[in-house]
């Protein structure tokens, strides 16, 4: 360690630890609840039963919900990512 790097004070170090504990606790708890709910909802169903329950049907080659929001539309993200990639490639060639 370079000598000038120094150290956090006791209070600052304590705040870091408390923040880590709280953030971990909250994140872990939220994720656990989400997954438990998902498991209870569809965890024991076959894919076919799950699709029926979630209202997913075949449209063209793919299985999609009757009403598909843009943020879970794979085709939207495929095209979006491709465009962004090409722009980045050109800009920073």
């Amino acid at each position: 360690m370079s000598p000038e790097v120094g150290a956090l004070s006791v209070i600052e170090s304590f705040i870091v630890i408390v923040a880590i504990v709280l953030i971990q606790l909250v994140l872990y708890l939220i994720l656990y609840k989400i997954l438990r709910r998902e498991y209870e909802k569809v965890g024991t169903l076959t894919d076919e039963e799950k699709y029926k329950k979630l209202g997913i049907v075949k449209k063209g080659s793919y299985y999609l919900p009757e009403k598909l929001p843009w943020y879970v539309n794979p085709r939207f993200w495929e095209i979006f990512t491709l465009i962004v990639s090409i722009i980045l490639l050109i800009l920073m060639w």
Binding site: E38, V42, W93
Partner: protein, 538 residues
């Protein structure tokens, strides 16, 4: 109390970050009763969580070093290893053809699909190639954690390796894939934050103007002020590297198993793009910058992986070291996920396929958990080889480029076309692999070959091209002799086939017999929804 550079607060922070994962995994024990639950989380994971977890596959601690060391060597050119072209190109195939086919077929390992599409020899070849490749990845992770321990705590390198090995495998074995998916979201958050905190301290101490001055000449994908591969234009090297990277997600069971954990097919496909790509790019951005300026601040470091440890040591104040180190090490949760991947290939593709075919489900799950833990020891054999190279990931690139890359060809061509015959994949991959290996061996042990032929980014161009050509030739012959594969045989395996003219009864019989033969007894989705008739579950 102090431990190397760490004070008592740092030590507490590391213990808190690591112990939380172990405690957390216990909560998920009830979700590991079947192979489907243990390996693909029972297919219950929402899209956003799958996306973050897919980024976690690519950005375990080994990959953080990967990004940093590539940028250390070649500037921004090194950043293009991950984003966007190779990955985007590969993800198009996964999203459009490969993942839907695997999802509908109900497979747990991507190699199982290869048997349904080609034959059992191709499945075995791909499975064992992956086991080899994932072992290098695990070895890289062990080294990454050991380097951080060594630089900051004074723990000797090989003791650090031993410590690293047990950090996450036990938690993974306890909690299975559902635990992995949840914990990696938390660890990705911490690791990303830690990366930006480290970058913040570096910029603060260097000054923004100096930081940008060091960075700017190197911020090009191709026009970096260095010949990346001596003797060939950067543009050509770039194409070779894109090809290597394009294969990553396709042949990687760990990546595919997380995608297959998605709640529905379209959610799994969405997750491949968003938030996967965004999280991925943001996560590795600080490490790319650190690699570029690390070349100038710490010249000539070998292996260059130590540079990350030096940055942590020289720029982070005591009291915050624990957070930085703990967060980076916590991403080693992916270590457990990788050993779990190897366990899935050994249990499902080999043990269940050939050794013990009809055992109860809990027998396979128990064995899977034991293998998940035990496999953390095996990769240590690669450590000395990797440490002798300019950067740790080099062995991975060399072996992947020479013999593993061809195995991605059957996934792509087999998923989009029914022309390719059953034997073509194995023969093509073996031929491509032999050519790649021969070039590498001659170059290393007989006589140096020109870089355009022998460099690890150039070899995949030849090995995959030869694989494809051989596949075409073998398919032409086999199709001529045996007749082409019928639409009926490939229903549910190649998703683009027309189905409306197919008579249902023969189709069901063919699918049933094939499924029986390859023991896909967990299939549930070859059903009326797909083939327009009655449900057909083996």
């Amino acid at each position: 109390m102090a431990w190397g550079l760490l004070n008592e607060f740092d030590i507490i922070t590391i213990i808190l970050l690591l112990s939380a994962t172990w405690i957390y995994s216990i909560l998920f024990r009830k979700y590991t009763k079947t192979l489907k639950e243990y390996y693909i989380a029972g297919k219950i994971i929402p899209w956003w969580m799958v996306g973050i977890d897919l980024a976690s596959v690519a950005l375990d601690i080994g990959n953080l070093y990967f990004t940093l060391t590539w940028c250390y060597a070649w500037g921004w050119f090194g950043f293009s290893q991950n984003m966007p072209w190779g990955w985007v190109a590969g993800s198009w195939f996964i999203s459009g053809w490969i993942l839907p086919a695997m999802y509908r077929l109900g497979v747990i390992t991507n190699t199982t699909w290869l048997e349904a599409r080609f034959d059992s020899s191709m499945r075995q070849l791909a499975a064992w190639m992956q086991i080899l490749q994932r072992s290098f990845v695990l070895s890289g992770m062990l080294i990454g954690i050991a380097i951080l321990f060594e630089v900051t705590t004074g723990i000797k390198f090989y003791e650090g390796i031993a410590l690293a090995g047990v950090i996450s495998v036990i938690a993974t074995a306890l909690g299975g894939k559902v635990y992995v998916m949840a914990s990696e979201v938390v660890q990705a958050t911490f690791s990303m934050t830690a990366g930006f905190v480290l970058l913040f301290f570096v910029i603060t101490r260097l000054g923004l103007a100096k930081f940008l001055e060091m960075l700017s000449p190197w911020m090009h994908w191709v026009k970096v002020p260095i010949e990346v591969v001596k003797g060939i234009p950067n543009e050509v090297a770039f194409i070779g590297m894109v090809l290597v990277c394009a294969t990553y997600g396709i042949i990687n069971q760990e990546y595919m198993s997380k995608a297959l954990s998605g709640r529905t097919e379209h959610e799994a496909r969405t997750a491949l793009w968003f938030p996967n790509m965004l999280v991925w790019s943001l996560w590795m951005l600080p490490f790319a910058y650190l690699g570029i300026i690390g070349r100038q601040l710490y010249p000539g470091v070998k292996p260059a992986d130590y540079v990350l440890g030096y940055f942590v040591r020289d720029y982070i104040p005591t009291g915050l070291l624990g957070f930085i180190i703990g967060s980076f090490i916590a991403t080693s949760a992916d270590f457990g996920s990788t050993t779990q991947t190897i366990a899935s290939l050994l249990i499902i593709d080999f043990y269940k396929r050939y050794i013990k075919k009809e055992a109860p489900e809990d027998h396979y799950v128990k064995l899977s958990k034991i293998l998940t833990i035990l496999w953390c020891i095996i990769p240590a054999i690669w450590v000395p080889f990797q440490m002798a190279l300019p950067f740790v990931a080099m062995l991975y690139i060399m072996i992947t480029g020479a013999i593993i890359t061809p195995t991605f060809v059957p996934y792509i061509v087999g998923s989009v076309s029914k022309f390719f015959s059953r034997k073509s994949a194995f023969i093509g991959c073996i031929t491509g692999g032999i050519v790649g290996l021969a070039i590498s061996i001659i170059n290393s042990f007989v006589t140096p070959l020109p870089p355009w032929l022998s460099h690890s980014w150039m070899v995949p161009i030849y090995s995959t091209s030869i694989c494809l050509v051989v596949m075409i030739i073998v398919s032409l012959i086999e199709n001529k002799v045996k007749g082409p594969l019928s639409d009926e045989e490939l229903i549910g395996v190649v998703i683009t086939l027309p189905t409306k003219y197919i008579k249902m009864k023969p189709v069901q019989n063919i699918i049933s017999s094939r499924i029986q033969r390859i023991k896909l007894n967990h299939l549930s989705l070859i059903s009326s929804q797909f083939i327009g008739g009655e449900q057909c579950v083996a």
